[in-house]
Amino acid sequence: MRLTKRSLLIPAIAAIGVLGLAACTDSGAPTSEETAAVEETVEFEAGTTMARLNEAGAITIGTKFDQPLFGQVDASGEPQGFDVEIAKLIAAKLGIPADGITWTETVSANREPFIQSGEVDMVVATYTINDKRKEVISFAGPYYNAGQDILVLAGNPEGIEGPDDLAGKPVCTVAGSTSEANIKAYTDQVTSLGGYAECLPLLSSGQVVAVTTDNVILAGLAANSAGEFEVVGNPFTEEPYGIGVTLEDTEFRMFINDVLEEAFEDGSWAAAWEKTAGTELPLPDPPTVDRY
């Protein structure tokens, strides 16, 4: 057999393939999962959203897919995070198992339109409750109280201690979020992007001096950055995270509020926290649900 180029090609490819496979790692290998107990026999009033979802055995939930600690996907595409756990809790109380949940990615700008068009049944996506939004949709909860904070480069070279230090400086945040509306009161050089991860290269390169959003999201970003960023640690607002549902669906809202209050009492809320955000942040006190 002559050593032609072609006859060497296939063994060469095979060798590279084997070496490559041998060197491969796998960060997405599935791990075991304990799921919340699903209510087997639960009855709802006919005509309510709960009854409809319970009968269908399926629910569509909107969440974030790129929010560290709260709504992100693991390497195999499974959503995980605190928001996801709370959503699973609610679904379980509706009698829907975890595999009956369809997860839809709702970026900040899509949250209200998706609820209004019925694209999703509810949204659990680091969704801050505010009055403007209450005009178009309604909120259950809050299920967590965050506070808007500031992310800077490690070592805080600009010496930013609070939002007042940001006057006249460029800042990055996410379009359509409450953080954007809040920070505009302090500085007018606000860059609004589609996701927080997109703000990080700008902070790295100095194009902006800070990224601002809720402190838990910033903690996740800092943790993922291998020491490049740090959180100032001085929250300057109260950001209650709520669960978004359609404007007129008061019964669904009250049902979710009941579920949340139960979860606050019986420890499942704390367990959900410990499993996800608790890896980075201390367990806070559960908030008080706002029934308006």
């Binding site: 491969c24 790692t25 997405g28 992100q72």
Partner: protein, 310 residues
């Protein structure tokens, strides 16, 4: 064409061309090396902390992570699914629209023309948002419908031009044989137009595939979304450049394959015919070349000319 613009180069001209080639090649190579070196420097960010350079192994070890490739596959199959369904629908809509556009009755023709012009003038993204928010169709079907309607309109126009470029004798002989106008259209004109326009249709399908990436704004889990937007959170922000490179390579591979198929088909169909028809078709293709950024259109104009012998 280029070869008739100047005389056959003599020794001096050949030497000059060789020198220019070498100089040009060196400049390009130098440019690439400069970029490479610049990127490899460790990045010192604005706070004075050093990050590894772009080509540092720590940024590329993710390529060995099987989870990354599973994610790539997840995104790619979602993209291909949307593209495949939209492509089939686009061809069907294209056929229907081209028939409506060339109908005898003004009642059919004029609304069809308005509809086609409307959908060709609207951005695909806007159509996707419209269908998603107004019809609550779900992200997949919003993307598919918008892509199918837009590309269907372009394909419809291509088919119409194809039919118009056929020799009139085809239609006349069909009618002379006793076929009704509709039968003539279906059994004689359409097959020929379709075959002639196949390269341009396949090129439009490449455009369709590229446009599936727009669905990420709806939240559809296609390739760009899954690997590039979520990847930095799932795998780590230092991998941004690497992930970009991976997504780019995948898109190039898929699209170049499709374009290559289009060129293959163009060569097959053009070579089987006489010069006149392919030249006419080639001119039509050239005119439509810019429509919707059709890819292989003008390449076929070149092929057409080469085939017609000069």
């Amino acid at each position: 064409m280029s070869s008739v613009l100047y005389d056959v180069p003599g020794p001096k001209a050949r030497r000059l061309s060789l020198i220019l080639s070498i100089v040009g090649g060196l400049l390009i190579a130098a440019g690439l090396i400069a970029i490479f070196v610049y990127l490899s420097q460790p990045r010192v960010n604005a706070g004075g902390v050093a990050q590894p350079g772009i080509f540092d192994p720590s940024r590329w070890d993710i390529l060995l992570d099987r989870a990354l490739w599973r994610t790539v596959w997840r995104g790619l199959s979602a993209t291909l699914q949307m593209a495949g369904v939209a492509a089939v629908l686009a061809i069907v809509i294209g056929i229907l629209l081209s028939m409506a556009r060339t109908a005898r009755s003004g009642f059919v023709r004029i609304p069809a023309t308005i509809v086609i012009e409307f959908f060709r003038g609207m951005p695909v993204l806007l159509m996707m948002l419209f269908i998603l928010l107004v019809f609550s169709s779900g992200q997949f079907w919003a993307g598919v419908a918008a892509l199918a309607v837009y590309n269907g309109a372009v394909i419809g126009e291509a088919l119409r031009s194809g039919i118009a470029s056929l020799p009139k004798g085809q239609r006349e002989s069909g009618l002379a044989l006793g076929f009704t106008p509709l039968q003539t259209r279906f059994s004689i004109e359409f097959p020929q137009a379709f075959r002639q326009m196949l390269p341009i249709i396949i090129a439009q399908l490449v455009v369709l595939l590229k446009d599936t990436s727009l669905a990420y704004i709806l939240g559809y889990q296609e390739l760009l979304n899954v690997v590039l937007k979520q990847g930095p959170t799932t795998f780590g922000p230092t991998y941004l450049f690497t992930l970009f490179f991976v997504v780019w390579a995948v898109y190039l591979a898929v699209n170049l394959t499709l374009s290559w198929i289009a060129r293959l088909v163009a060569r097959r169909t053009a070579s089987g015919r006489g010069g006149g028809k392919s030249r006419r078709a080639a001119r039509v293709i050239a005119q439509l070349g810019g429509a919707g950024m059709v890819g292989a259109g003008t390449t076929d104009a070149e092929t057409g000319h080469e085939q017609s012998g000069h």
